[in-house]
């Protein structure tokens, strides 16, 4: 069992580059290297890939939530001029195996449904034709006979459904995918001794990343070599891409995956296996390259990327001094029809399940259920955004019920800055933090007291103004244990999550960095160039960045879980260290000085303390590449200048037991958001009067791009809180399959300005002290905003337990509250 508290003998780290050194490039507002190509329309997105003689695929999708496929008649489709291939589930099963699944026991999902469909939008037939228009025409000519089965749409019904309503009967007699119970610390004892217990039922509805670019793939099959080449706008191809080869029934070296720019992901393209397998299946059948790009309906109904969908029953125990002592919850999570990442999103949540607070014990009962919906994937936060919502909602509930001050209560319960590294009850470690500091910065930036006065004035005028606060964690840098540690039997117990970088300096002194993960709308080229420029005192303009395919890829896990900047910084630092050593060796012969007497300065290598005695990196590079005979006859001193380095997780341990998961997500960012809103009680509209966002992601490589992530993540969190929800009816029909009714935030839905504050508490474990920053905004905005709306409506006594709180939902809550109090709008 893990005991919560400060760790007295902290684990030794591998940090080489300390955070307290003077830095020249890191920390500057360098303009992004990626931008010019995007600004002139020369990004290279998946639909920009065109291969000679390429055909196009379309997918016929199930209109039913749950049905047996009785027969498929493809005759009319095949007869249409321009149609190349029409592939049913039975055809596909001859050529492909099940799609990758990381649950154990596994849940079988096919790229084209075999025998049964389990959600609206599931592929039933793949059509390949000369162009997309013909492929869609042909799909419409396919005749499918279905025998309807009972559809399960409500997650509570899923627990009790039996018989034909069971989605995966081979896995058991019901739709419970997993049911697990966890106890970390003395939960029952703390609740028995509690002075107060606060309870709430909370609802976090299903939403998704919904990037503007859908998922897609262009595949070709070379019969001569038996090898597939697949372009896809997903990630993790240098990590688990070989599972796509398995699905295609070829050896891993018979598949090369080529990355492209991704038009946004937000988790949804974390690991795109289905589109890749569909395009490859089509290419092998057609004997031609095949492009398959999801349309928006394909993407919304079947991209395997819906986010968490949960109902929580939460209890919080407090002692007589109003210190939170224990948290206990039962959660039901609707995973949809399949289970690709198993209980990973709940494993993730255990990394920060007590938030920034000194809660000593946690009890968790988790039901994961199957329903006839699109399966869950990753969505910015990977489950921990819901954990944050749960914690901050129950904190606000305690504040309201016990009539406490929301600021003082949080401050009194925070882990103190001197208590790091801090172990939480689940066993995970928080490396560093300053939570009161973030709170204070937010209070000051907002002029909290000033807004409280304005709020009082507004209330006397009959206006509903509210101030929200949320203090949340942003876990960074996953180790892979979260994906399997909640399995009864671990299954494939992956423990690696590396990232690599390769650096080549050519004979003229220009550098090329190869990254082993794709460009995802983050700024990997900018980050990598800045770190290398810092290391070598080079001009970042002399550094270019490319992305390796899987044939040339080194271990790389890719962007996700707010890990990439931390990890690629470690990889570049490692590779640069090797390059620097070689540069110094060559320079030492040119300068006739010992390597240890040399230093890097302004793109040169010089003798310490001798300002004129130096050679440029370019001169050394030319020497290293072209003039071997000018150097000593040392077999270790080979021609050229290149290095690769694979950086492993900076601090992770194995799970010890079901009550101690070890260190698995320790690089802990933090944020404090304070929105000020006004609610129109007649319409349920929420408008923003102010918004302050304080983030602590340690050392910032580029403050401009961190601000961009904070603003963009916050916008997405506001969408989650107010607008976004995939709505299924009781028959499992998805009611909003386009952006006409699945609402993404527009500028008019958002604060005119998000005022950002940065606190810098560097990690002692990562290079330069960098922490993750990619997910934070979405992980804190929902509870902050709901807190503000509830505060605005406090005179009416409205409690909000559900997101999104759409205008109609808010009106219903207001009506209910008014009915109780006898007032009306």
């Amino acid at each position: 069992m893990a005991e919560a508290g400060k760790i007295l003998s902290p684990p030794a780290g591998r940090q080489k580059e300390r955070s307290d050194q003077r830095l020249n490039v890191i920390g500057t507002r360098m303009l992004r290297k990626e931008d010019p190509r995007f600004l002139i329309g020369r990004g290279r997105f998946i639909d920009d890939i065109t291969l000679p003689n390429m055909a196009h695929a379309a997918v016929l999708r199930s209109p039913h939530a749950h049905a047996r496929i009785k027969s498929i008649n493809t005759g009319a489709a095949l007869a249409l001029p321009g149609v190349v291939a029409v592939i049913t589930g039975e055809d596909a099963a001859k050529e492909t195996g099940p799609l990758p699944c990381f649950a154990n026991p596994t849940v079988e999902q096919r790229c084209v449904a075999l025998g049964k469909v389990r959600h609206v939008g599931e592929p039933v037939v793949l059509v390949v034709a000369d162009n997309r228009y013909i492929a869609e025409d042909a799909a419409a000519l396919v005749d499918v006979e279905y025998e309807l089965l009972p559809a399960v749409s409500d997650m509570m019904d899923a627990i009790t459904s039996r018989g034909d309503a069971v989605l995966h009967p081979e896995r058991g007699p019901d739709n419970v995918a997993e049911h697990r119970n966890y106890s970390f610390g003395p939960v029952d004892q703390e609740f028995a001794q509690a002075a107060h217990v606060i309870k709430r039922r909370l609802r976090w509805s299903r939403s998704g990343g919904q990037p503007l670019e859908t998922a897609g793939s262009v595949a070709s099959f070379d019969e001569g070599s038996g090898k597939f080449t697949i372009y896809v706008n997903g990630s993790m191809y240098n990590y688990i891409g070989l599972t796509i080869a398995t699905a295609l029934k070829v050896a891993s070296h018979q598949l090369n995956i080529i990355p492209v720019d991704a038009g946004g992901s937000f988790g949804s393209k974390l690991f795109l296996h289905k589109v890749a397998v569909l395009a490859a299946l089509g290419a092998r059948a057609a004997g031609r390259p095949v492009k398959y790009i999801e349309d928006r309906i394909d993407n919304i109904t079947a991209c395997d990327n819906h986010g968490s969908d949960r109902i929580y029953d939460v209890e919080l125990a407090l002692d007589a001094a109003n210190r939170m002592t224990a948290l206990r919850y039962k959660v039901v999570d609707d995973y949809g029809a399949y289970f690709q990442y198993g209980l990973g999103t709940h494993g993730n949540g255990f990394s920060q399940t007590v938030g920034p607070y000194k809660i000593r014990a946690v009890g968790a009962e988790i039901y994961a259920v199957f329903t006839n919906k699109c399966q869950q994937g990753a969505c910015r936060g990977f489950g921990s955004e819901v954990t944050n919502f749960m914690i901050e909602r129950i904190v606000d509930a305690a504040v309201a019920e016990l009539n406490l001050d929301p600021i003082a209560f949080r401050r009194d319960n925070f882990i103190r800055p001197e208590e790091f590294p801090y172990q939480i009850p689940t066993g995970n470690l928080y490396d560093s933090g300053n939570y009161p500091g973030a709170l204070d910065m937010a209070l000051q930036l907002l002029d909290y007291d000033g807004w409280r006065e304005k709020q009082q004035l507004a209330r006397t005028q009959g206006r509903y103004v509210g101030i929200g606060v949320a203090s949340c964690q942003e876990k960074g840098v996953f180790s892979a244990t979260e994906f399997w540690m909640l399995n009864r039997q671990p299954g494939f117990a992956l423990t690696s999550s590396p990232e690599s970088a390769s650096i080549k300096i050519d004979a003229t002194g220009k550098a090329v960095i190869s990254l082993h993960a794709p460009c995802w709308g983050n700024s990997p080229e900018t980050v990598a160039a800045m770190v290398l420029a810092e290391q070598l005192t080079m001009d970042p303009a002399d550094i270019s960045v490319t992305y390796s395919d899987s044939d040339h890829g080194l271990p790389g896990t890719g962007p996700g879980g707010s890990r990439y900047t931390v990890m690629v910084t470690g990889a570049i630092t490692g590779a640069a260290t090797i390059i620097k050593e070689k540069l110094k060796r060559v320079a030492s012969h040119m300068l006739e000085a010992g390597p240890h007497d040399l230093e890097f300065r302004n793109g040169k290598i010089g003798v310490k303390g001798a300002s004129g005695l130096e050679v440029s990196i370019t001169e050394v590079a030319t020497q290293a590449h072209f003039f071997r005979l000018s150097l000593p006859d040392d077999p270790d001193l080979t021609s050229g200048l290149d290095a690769s380095y694979t950086y492993d997780h900076p601090l992770a341990t194995l799970p010890k037991s079901d009550s101690d998961f070890g260190i698995f997500y320790p690089i802990m960012g933090h944020m404090c958001h304070m929105p000020v809103v006004e609610v129109d009680p007649k319409t349920g509209q929420v408008s923003f009067l102010d918004y302050v966002a304080v983030h602590d992601c340690g050392t910032m490589i580029n403050p401009m791009t961190v601000d961009g992530h904070v603003r963009g993540g916050t916008a997405q969190g506001i969408g989650t809180a107010l607008l976004e929800e995939f709505r299924y009816d009781k028959n499992g029909q998805l009611l909003n399959t386009s952006f006409t009714d699945y609402l993404l935030p527009r500028i008019s839905n958002l604060p005119p300005q998000v005022r950002i504050g940065h606190l810098v508490t560097p990690s002692p474990y990562t290079e330069y002290g960098v922490k993750g920053a990619g997910e934070g905004g979405r992980m804190v905005a929902p509870p902050a905003l709901i807190s503000a709306i509830e505060d605005a409506l406090r005179p009416l006594g409205v409690k909000i337990d559900t997101v999104p709180v759409t205008p109609s939902r808010l009106r219903a809550l207001i009506r209910e509250a008014e009915a109780k109090s006898g007032r009306g709008h």
Binding site: S523, R711, F739
Partner: protein, 166 residues
Amino acid sequence: MNGSMDNQDVNITVNGRSYKRRIEPRLLLSDFIRHGIGLTGTHVGCENGVCGACTVLLDGLATRSCCTLAVQADGRQVETVESLGRINNLSPLQRGFWEMHGLQCGYCTPGMLMLMTELLRENPNPDRDTIRARLNDNICRCTGYEDIVNSVERAVELMRGESSRP
């Protein structure tokens, strides 16, 4: 359905260059631009006119190319992102987006640039509210829009200094 209407001859001018093609009447303008003549800077996001990623200028007016048939552009002028500045000579609007971090993944960016090109031609000195009102036409999933507004304001400054061309 395919072949139910005869193909038509069109002459569409894109970025000042005339393209004479024989096309299916149902061909979307976005597909004509991207795949017919290979200008892949224009992107398709939602395919029903909501997001504006596919925005081009049709006779100077911001238009959803995913909801426009290519035959509707016959005899007309289309402007796409490729008509703006080039890599070593970015236009003030592109430069503004670069300097103020007006893009992250870059997918909505061409549509945003064309929408703002229309605005800046109408009004070379828009205030913040005017920029925000026009930006409400298009969706960006990455930035939260604030840096796009800052980018357009920066472009207005640059236009004053350099030229009046957005």
